[in-house]
Point group: C3
Chain length 278, copies 3
């Protein structure tokens, strides 16, 4: 028997309860020896888009092969499908990654941005992707609760893949899945409009504007503040000043050196940012 695959977890469960612990207990019981890696459990509650962005930006750094178990699931217990997706790994033709979670757009990172639709919708599964509906009774707990599919359904499915290396045994193939559009700013004439997709622990405001979209020189407006400084790293900004930088994710972000840009600007997740070339 080969070693079980690593299982990488991303949820909005928080760690205040035993929800994540119960998921890991099921994984440990059903895929003994599989390394468990917490990406984060603090996606904003019910925020599918933030979860999808966090997964997409972390993906290049994950081991391959690996199983990704992702749950942000406001529709738990409704008709949204539980799915398992097998996807190729960009840049490594011999490796595969598996994604397990609800079919609500959270798993969009399994599909490269340029193969995604221009608005969130159920989309044809692109070539190379293998999508399964999770139906096998062996890959779920004996009793499935109405509100905790992470434990009762997704964890057993992820453990099944990690332990066996197979996902096609989980259920029938599907020819479509729900995908979010690529995360990017929207060009309007010469300006670029984006939103704050994530506020990090330091109060840095990360936007949906990609570094490839940045003009040579620009001003960024957010919540009544105009920011004209662009720095390479935090220590290039004067202490206490707001400045833009390209985040380690490759997206434009706003930080205050050794301060908190979210508190300083009053901006929050979902707020608009407007970039104007100078």
């Amino acid at each position: 028997m080969t070693d079980p695959l690593p299982i990488v977890l991303l949820t909005d469960f928080g760690t205040h309860d035993t929800y994540v612990g119960q998921v890991k207990a099921v994984l440990t019981a059903r895929a003994p020896g599989a390394p468990l890696v917490d990406l984060t459990h603090e996606v904003s509650p019910y925020a599918i888009d933030e979860g999808a962005w966090l997964l997409e930006t972390a993906l290049p750094f994950l081991p391959a092969p690996a199983v990704v178990l992702a749950v942000v699931d406001p529709g738990v217990g409704s008709e949204r499908l539980p799915i398992a997706v097998r996807a190729p790994v960009p840049g490594d033709p011999t490796a595969l990654r598996y994604f397990v979670g609800p079919d609500n757009g959270l798993l969009s990172a399994a599909v490269p941005p340029d193969a995604r639709p221009s608005a969130p919708r159920r989309s044809p599964s692109p070539p190379g992707l293998d999508v399964r509906a999770i139906e096998s009774p062996e890959a779920r707990l004996a009793t499935v609760s109405a509100t905790f599919h992470g434990r009762d359904l997704f964890a057993p499915a992820a453990a099944h893949i990690a332990a066996t290396g197979h996902h096609e045994t989980l259920g029938p193939a599907r020819d479509e899945l729900t995908l979010l559009p690529p995360f990017a700013g929207r060009a309007e004439g010469t300006t670029i409009r984006g939103t704050v997709i994530h506020v990090d622990r330091y109060g840095n405001l990360v936007t949906t504007i990609r570094k490839e979209q940045l003009p040579q020189d620009f001003a960024l407006d957010i919540n009544g503040h105009s920011i004209e400084d662009m720095v390479r790293t935090f220590s290039d900004a004067p202490p206490g000043a707001l400045a833009c930088h390209v985040d380690s994710s490759g997206f434009l972000a706003i930080a205050e050196r050794e301060g908190n840009a979210a508190a300083r600007t009053g901006a929050a997740r979902g707020d608009a940012v407007v970039l104007t070339p100078r």
Copy 2:
């Protein structure tokens, strides 16, 4: 040598400090290779009853065999005993679980609800349970601090069991242990009185009323709010409405769909709930 047993952790230590990290460092040094599973470390500080409830509701999903290391210990350094309990696993006659922690009621889940007393008290150890006082000098650190038995005493004891599969070597048998009553609502005529035992990350208010106690149709009063809707899952409620559901733990809970019932009602852990049949 057989593989070390998984060790499942539940504490009120939080993760803001290195307390949990020091416990895990001791476990890693003394039981190398034992999988560590965090159930949660965010039990409300000193809340033995909440910790016991969180452990009891997660227990059916833990691996077996396994060691449970649980520490919510307001009496650390006082005369309360450190104990290790070996208990059978309901539904699996060949498996065993071990519980390590303070003898203050936190480990009540080692005993089925129907074998527990009607009020918190030191109780005779029921048949099938093996309770030990932790006394062996080999199963503690060379120096035991007055305030951190989790690291100095409970972690070495848990590592000892995980590494050796033995708990009876930890110290002499005890014929009693402190037990909490079963978590359940209290019937008063046709009404059922309970309390909020846990507020989860989403602001859901989980009560001590068990699903088996629910009448066909009822109203639930909490903190001046009366709730009459009972739903199977969150998405069956209108957005913004308060509704009751049976939580994944099997207890009655109050949620606001894609909202926060604790913020909405102002209710908190320990608050009373009253259920009246209709």
Copy 3:
């Protein structure tokens, strides 16, 4: 091949984002099978001194050999060096520990307090220590971002040591490193002045005054409160009373029994404490 060494992590990254998760993903990919132990990720943002204190007080309980990956790095992307330090283990002449992180004083625990300078400064590397600048292109990701050396540079270096047992291959030897002074109160006549170095999850205020510095009988002043009770453990104090005790770290701390001393006194990290013998 021998088993990979355990890797112990301490950062100010928090767990709200995927920063820690990305670091662990890199460690899992590059040092498969290495046990990962989180000491804490909630060092106050940018607080090098608090991080150094948390590492120093946890160090005696870590496994040996082990790799410590510590990142509190306000100067990321500036000229501060990334370093890897090999240090002997006090009390165990056959064991070694490795420290990986920024050369900003955070890794001071690699050097015993009595070999550290009296103020924070770049200092000669003491005998027995082997300090390397991390330069090897094999021990970093192909692209190194300007703001996330934890993932791109420190994690690959730590994984390299854990997987190979070698740190000298990371880069050239250095004969100095940045060290903080020992954590201790400062004597002024008969009084001892210290600061609050850490506020823990329970609101306990831990000071820089070491237990070896305590007179037989004393009063402690903090933020307008004078505390005269010294107890061995929490339950020796009356409920609701402020009292001093020697923390499990060996430092003087202020607690309120089953309460929160930080909230009670309004004191915070960095505040002064003054101890006067009686």
